[in-house]
Amino acid sequence: MTALENSLAASGTAGRPRLVVVGNGMVGHHFVEQMLGAAVPFAITVIGAEPRPAYDRVHLSEVFAGRAPAELALTTREFYQEAGVEAHFGDPVVSIDREARTVTTQGGRRFGYDKLVLATGSFPFVPPVPGADSNGCFTYRTIDDLGEIRAAAAKARRGVVVGGGLLGLEAANALRNLGLETHVVEFAPQLMGVQVDPEGGAILRSQIEALGISIHTGKNTQRIVAGEELPLAMHFADGEVLETDLIVFSAGVRPDDKLARDADIKIGERGGIVIDYRCRTSDSDIYAVGECALWGGKIFGLVAPGYQMAKVAASALTGGDLSFHGADMSTKLKLLGVDVGSIGDSHARSEGALCYRVVDERAGIYKKLVVSADGERLLGAVLVGDNALYDTLLQYCLNGIKLPAQPLSLIAPSGGEVVALGPDSLPETATICSCHNVSKGDICCQIDSGVTALSDIKSATKASTGCGGCAALLKTVVDSELAKRGVAVNNHLCEHFAYSRQELFHLIKVGGIHTFEELVARHGQGLGCDICKPTAASIFASLDNEHVLDKPHVGLQDTNDTFLANMQKDGTYSVVPRIAGGEITADKLIVLGQVAKKYNLYTKITGGQRIDLFGARLNELPLIWEELIAAGFETGHAYGKSVRTVKSCVGSTWCRYGQQDSVSMALRIEHRYKGLRSPHKLKFAVSGCTRECAEAQSKDIGVIATDKGWNLYVCGNGGMRPRHADLFATDLDDDTLIRYIDRLLMFYIRTADRLQRTSVWLENLEGGLDYLRSVVIDDSLGLGAELEAQMEHVVSTYVCEWKVAVEDPEKRKRFRQFVNSDAEDQQVVFVTDREQIRPATPAEKRELATVA
């Protein structure tokens, strides 16, 4: 008998009880996270069947929309290592020996346990059809599945998804994103039969067919054989045949209960490991959580109840008293761009239930309310085509709030908008965030303990950090509770202006104010400070685009703007000429080398594909720029809160894989927006294909080529708090792409706070990405033309700030080190390192002074 793999861990940790977790999906990982914060110490071993640690399976299909698989990761091997968790991946557990209290993996490794948690999830159900294991047949559940589908799709024209439920339509979306002619085959007479009633299913079907996807319902696949024109032919019971290149089975999932079944742990009649209200199985040392577990005769195939089970099991193991009593299975999602919402008893199965329905076939909208016999309570609802009411209806349903006298008025308002359920009408127990189970009471608790900023409440409670669906509701609850407590949210810029940046922008624009003096006189007080002055300077620049060193503006500029260069730690500057798109000729490279050599500058390549020249003294700046401008360079605005760089890959001109000419697009974008000043610096990138070599998804504006045009990503961020950009619009032509960027940037410049990057701006924008899309794409505020005109003004008034500065004797005067001497600053001392200069350290300076 082999030694136990985790015996060392157990003995080495002074007899801590051994906890083995089988399965590292979303719920298994969540369970481990819960245990890490627990008071009772376990020696934890995690064994995952997949070759990688837990990832976000809910958003799997986004991989086909251009998201990298690595981005879905929920954790890393390093995280487990640092947390002291032993983790093994890619070697599934194949048996449990309950007597010896060990589990054994496929690779023959054995692990001992004192407590065992099964989080094995589920496996895709493949109907028992002859030929379902042919080449070209796939399932859709793991990242590896995606890789295989993607590889097969590269050579395919048509793809069929078997299954018209939630997962089936997700898979159909994936095939469509891969560019295949997509068909959905469903056994039942309608789509999404679990969540939606037949009428709703019909509306959903028409909406999805309008996208060019063929739907075949009521189809019983009898066999899959080789086709005549395409590799596979599906034969249906009604005699019809559908030929295809590939088939994806996504006809539901089944609980992965084999381990428990083989170990004689109690299993439900139709599968699922039976658990009690503490998530214990029939063996009191073994727990089960997530989709493999059966509670009250039900499987809970959503992530939120899975997380609840994880919390309950962790609580049971650590002496807590949480218990599981089922979960609300309401869901809100967007499938192929169509809103679908299902709340509570959507099929009206409760006794005496009555229904109200509204159908708008033209707009593709269906709404149904299921109410109690007395008409007072909402039991369930179905929404197709418009989820705007989802949050309100869910609160009615979960909290048993009394319905209005005419429930129909909720879904068919007789004039004006539906009055959304105000935050005050929600009880303390109302769940605001169902992903992390945060109630209104939890939020009030935080506010009472002094946490008042929305972002702080989010991080303290985790509310709205799961699917994010409750963001708007959370904000209204927080605002209303703050108002109730008499807390005025102060967003004043500084002691001189009782306005936010956004308000100040508006005052300056509407009032036609062009100088700081006038701004203080009309709307502020005092002399201003290093907060409001640069803010005002940035707004003047965005609106008027006058030279930042013009007399009324010069004293307002921040450290770097004021000398059009980046100040370094010793008071010298670095100089960054624009190298648009990272494209540069040999002649220009030579000039940069010559200038660097002449002025003895340290040179380094930047992350934005430019060359940074360090160690220039104040008085050298105009001299250096004269030479650079003569050679055809212009300022790179590396010093400004402004558009910096547009990074690009080499694109279709050279690259074997390039789909579009990314360099030309990068040049067009960089030359359009160069010099644009904004609340914070802006970085762009353009990638020529989905391999994304320009790393566009970490930029404020990211553009990725497709075979049809450009995908636009927005509000990404590298730096201190990285954030991946969101996919904003797909397959845009050149001009539409530019128009959207124009509108989006100007809207950001108008509405963002001081020093607020686009990522944080978006996170704080009420309504989030959907709202931003409605403003930019649908022009819902009617601002489109104005935003474009404002951008056009900035673009058409662009001048190279350095060219103006070196040619204007008055501006040039400012670059004197001393107003009364040509001497140099003795405090600036360089030493040589790796054949280039660097600032001397204080010790080196002292030493050099003594020698002298």
Binding site: D530, G555, L556, Q557, T559, M567, G571, F818, Q827
Partner: protein, 119 residues
């Protein structure tokens, strides 16, 4: 207090901003507020926190009634009238008497720093 060193002309100053002058080999930051009653303020150009000669390149402002310059390096505020650092009371720079007369900027001898130099 006599201001006997002629540092520069008023035209060398930048309104609502700073310049640097060499006064007997020492760097002095000169800030010019040309309001109804034009005023000139002079403090050391050396930023003791950032350890570089940069204070003349900071933004002038007013915090709770105190005239200050914000260091361009790490943004601490130094009082133009007392030299004190608002963020760290153990740090101060020297204040130099300065005046404008007949279009000339004159500077006197620096006052002892409010904080004893550690060296």
């Amino acid at each position: 207090m006599s201001c006997d060193f002629i540092a520069c002309h008023v035209t060398d100053l930048v309104e609502y901003s700073g310049v640097c002058a060499l006064v007997n080999g020492q760097q002095v930051a000169l800030f010019y507020l040309p309001m109804r009653n034009p005023k000139i303020y002079a403090i050391d150009n050396f930023d003791p926190i950032g350890a570089a000669n940069v204070l003349s390149r900071g933004i002038i402002g007013e915090l709770r009634g105190e005239l200050v310059v914000a260091s361009p390096l790490y943004k601490q505020h130094f009082s133009l009238t007392t030299g004190r650092c608002l963020e760290d009371e153990t740090v101060a720079v020297r204040v130099w008497p300065a005046e404008i007369s007949n279009g000339l900027v004159r500077v006197g001898h620096p006052q002892q720093s409010l904080i004893e130099s550690a060296a």
